[in-house]
Symmetry: C2
């Protein structure tokens, strides 16, 4: 069915009926504002914009996955604060040629993840648009003190959850329509690209036990996000290239790209954090409880040393260009 | 300066430095999520999308006004719940040709209104985009029980704050580049179009004194928004055309359009609400305290009667086409 046959208000009604919500939602979709109750006075708020042609390509992304991912990237931001996601508001700009079934598919993907992460969908806005655009704002609460980007100190260990580079390598294969997409290992990489797993449980445990001194999620590439963390904490960092956690699929398909996508690919949605060396055992216990590997990949040094990558024999690795700047601005070597 | 010379992260830094924030903001712009404290367990959340070519035209809209209005439309949604606006997250999609000075101008407008309404700007996202897009989510709190769209009863009075049709008439003049734009009265209409006054104080007083049984803000045109309120409350309505509050400027420039824009224009951002007849004196006291006229424009009737407009001699007025549907769907006569 065409969207114009259904109309804006019946579309909203359709979205409302399917929206997951729990008993803390006093008024959900369909009024001027949603009315929710917060279990804690500390509220976390984050927002992400996903634009067709900039952040995603409908040639190789299904609307189900897009709905899933639009929420996942926001969950990841909440996870990086050590918080618990709770309420999402979702605004969509929809091209005229879209069909109602496609929007249904988008919300099926989003609602799947919302249900499994106990997030209620409480509001948003819809409009016609030239290309598909998705704007999600997510409210969470913070049962423990949130973990900011500042707070790391010289001598702290640097950790990352999961594996790095999978999503970016998948994107490279998709963009070039590579024959490697038919390799059995590609399915794993594609899943990492289309359905990121926000590390909510690990983030929450790290906050509860006050293990992480500073934390950020890796969305723009390890080097770039480590740069943000270092800049906020006024430190530098040494990374050990051979300690970077790479998946078997990545090893199989990265070829001569080596660690490039792990260092600067983007869209990993893993947690990058710093912790005092005395907490090593406690952090491995969190990894076991959260069911995700947590790998020590480096160490915090003085700010003046900047960010250095060392290879297996201790030689400095020339870093690949850092992640993504939406306006094409200067990124490599920036001092912020 | 070109945006590409500044880069995304320096732009965010610039926005962060100028952002209004109060002591309830524990962590504002610049981390994975903002961390704010809520003075009440009841949180209101609303979001609005403003797209170039759909919601605004930069030919006749300054970026200052656009920034102001992007926040104002969200304030109006909070006002319509009887809440107090508190925290805004603002995502922008910015075309490559934009200059840093234009973005500064946008935030100057938004920050002006944020400061005067005690709203903190706590986060958001930025991206390149083909045309300018603005997505604002606003958190507020509810010191009193929020006023929903349902709750009106047969026999209730229908009220509206301020005047109707000014913004829509201004848009008509702008679109046709009418010579009437040079009429002294046009300045008032343009101000109503570019800088809507969200009726936060009136909304809050109505909630505090439990005067409004149901409330909505008039953003899509009186008839359409009254339709939403009636549908949620399962009632019908009679409106008295001669009671519609029209400004002097509207009277001067509407010409043979008569009450058309007041009935179905849109972008009024006034409060439409229903109240028991026993509360008439209390409602006029609210009008005086809030400094905005509140006009009784009709009465709630049985659902089966639908929405009727009566003229001065009691004859039924044929309604103009109702407000706006973004997907061009069926609106007139819809039964939802």
């Amino acid at each position: 069915m065409k969207l114009s046959q259904l109309g804006e208000f019946d579309l909203i009604d359709k979205i409302r009926r399917a929206a997951p919500k729990d008993r803390n939602v006093r008024l959900g979709i369909g009024d001027d504002a949603a009315w929710v109750t917060s279990p804690s006075a500390s509220i976390l708020v984050t927002a992400d914009l996903l634009l067709e042609g900039v952040h995603f390509n409908l040639k190789w992304t299904s609307l189900f996955d897009l709905g899933y991912k639009s929420l996942a990237v926001n969950l990841s931001d909440t996870a990086a604060m050590g918080g618990v996601p709770a309420y999402a508001v979702v605004s969509l700009g929809i091209p005229a040629h879209f069909r109602v079934e496609q929007i249904d598919e988008f919300y099926r993907g989003m609602n799947r993840l919302a249900r499994s992460s106990r997030v209620s969908l409480v509001g948003g806005d819809t409009s016609a648009a030239k290309s598909l655009l998705i704007s999600v704002a997510l409210l969470g609460h913070a049962p423990h003190r949130p973990i900011a980007r500042h707070g790391a100190k010289i001598g702290d260990d640097i950790y990352v959850t999961g594996t790095l580079g999978d999503a970016a390598l998948a994107l490279k294969l998709l963009k070039s329509n590579s024959p490697a997409l038919r390799h059995p290992a590609a399915a794993f990489l594609l899943k990492r690209h289309h359905r990121p797993m926000a590390r909510c449980r690990a983030g929450l445990l790290l906050a509860r036990q006050k293990l992480a001194a500073a934390m950020i999620d890796v969305s723009d590439g390890l080097l770039q996000d480590l740069g943000h963390l270092c800049s906020a904490s006024r430190i530098g960092a040494v990374l050990w290239e051979e300690n970077l956690p790479l998946s078997r699929a990545y090893h199989m398909l990265a070829g001569k790209d080596g660690s490039r996508w792990a260092l600067s690919g983007g869209e990993d949605y893993e947690l990058l954090f710093c912790a005092r060396p005395a907490r090593r055992a406690a952090i491995q216990a969190v990894a076991r409880r959260a069911g995700v590997p947590i790998t020590r990949i480096g160490s915090c040094v003085a700010k003046e040393q900047g960010i250095t990558i060392l290879d297996a024999i201790g030689e400095t690795v020339r870093p690949p260009a850092r992640g993504h700047d939406h306006f094409g601005g200067p990124i490599v070597g920036r001092s912020k």
